[in-house]
Symmetry: C2
Subunit: 150 residues, 2 copies
DNA sequence: ATAACTGCAAATCATTTGCAGATCT
DNA sequence: AGATCTGCAAATGATTTGCAGTTAT
């Protein structure tokens, strides 16, 4: 499980978000938030749903979908479309902004995901905002590599 | 329609690929390749399928799927997962390497795709290769923006 | 001739939706 | 009390699959 102070903080954030938007504070939403913040890697809806069940917290998959959408809107998770199988999620608060190197074999199977940070991304973003007049809210950068021989 | 010499080149590439992999040279495959290279933006399978029909080249959607997979393996198209609606494709030969700004509404619908090039990406890639010892073969960079008020 | 390809329809699978009953406020 | 949320099952929609007939080699 994630550090208690992190859990507390993200619960506060969710609380504020719900107050602001007049949403109900259900047991399901807070529990799912807690479990999401105990996951240390990317997960899809099915994995999270099974994980909750394992931990004896039974919810419907519909609620998992709904709650992840809520957490997404509250900025508490990030959603990735790595492939056309299913969307992947990861916690996004207290989780330094990072990008990914995805190591895949010839068949496209993901062997390893390496996270990295590079400040130049932010500079590119700023320049693009200046050029386009758009407000960029987020980004995804993936580098794809073949495995090393070793 | 794309420039004749480009069409010729990509047909040659597909030809070689088919020879190498002992695949059949069907009318459908070459026609679809031609139409793909006449598209000037990203498209999904449904759009391409409708486009083909408009141009009086009727194929089944299954063949469109199969052929795009083939072109993907041959390195002639690039596949993108902008959202969880449908995969998007674009021609990838004689098409300068570029990245994308994706303008989406609150519901995640793609409103506009802006292409850009920034040399700093290549520098980041080189540094990552040095640090990790991996050989990076490709990348995807997406910036996400909300639409402008106008 | 025969193995691969196409087209059609059915199957699959992630996600969404509709609605009845439960539960926050 | 009343609106929202949850859970279930059915609907949806992109993609895949199975198979019969067609076509490239």
């Amino acid at each position: 499980m994630a550090k208690p102070e992190i859990i507390k903080s993200v619960k506060d954030i969710l609380n504020n978000y719900m107050n602001k938007h007049q949403l109900r504070k259900t047991q399901e939403r807070f529990k799912i938030l807690e479990f999401v913040y105990s996951m240390d890697k990317h997960f899809d809806v099915d994995e999270l749903h099974r994980f909750l069940k394992e931990k004896d917290f039974v919810v419907s998959k519909a609620t998992v979908y709904n709650t992840l959408e809520l957490l997404l809107n509250a900025g508490l998770v990030k959603k990735h479309y790595f492939n056309n199988h299913a969307a992947y999620y990861e916690k996004s608060f207290f989780n330094k902004t990072h990008d990914h190197i995805i190591v895949r074999d010839e068949n496209g199977n993901v062997l390893k995901i390496i996270e990295f940070c590079d400040p130049r991304i932010e500079l590119i973003k700023k320049d693009l905002e200046k050029i386009t007049g758009l407000q960029i809210e987020d980004h995804d950068l993936y580098f794809f590599a073949k495995p090393n021989k070793n």
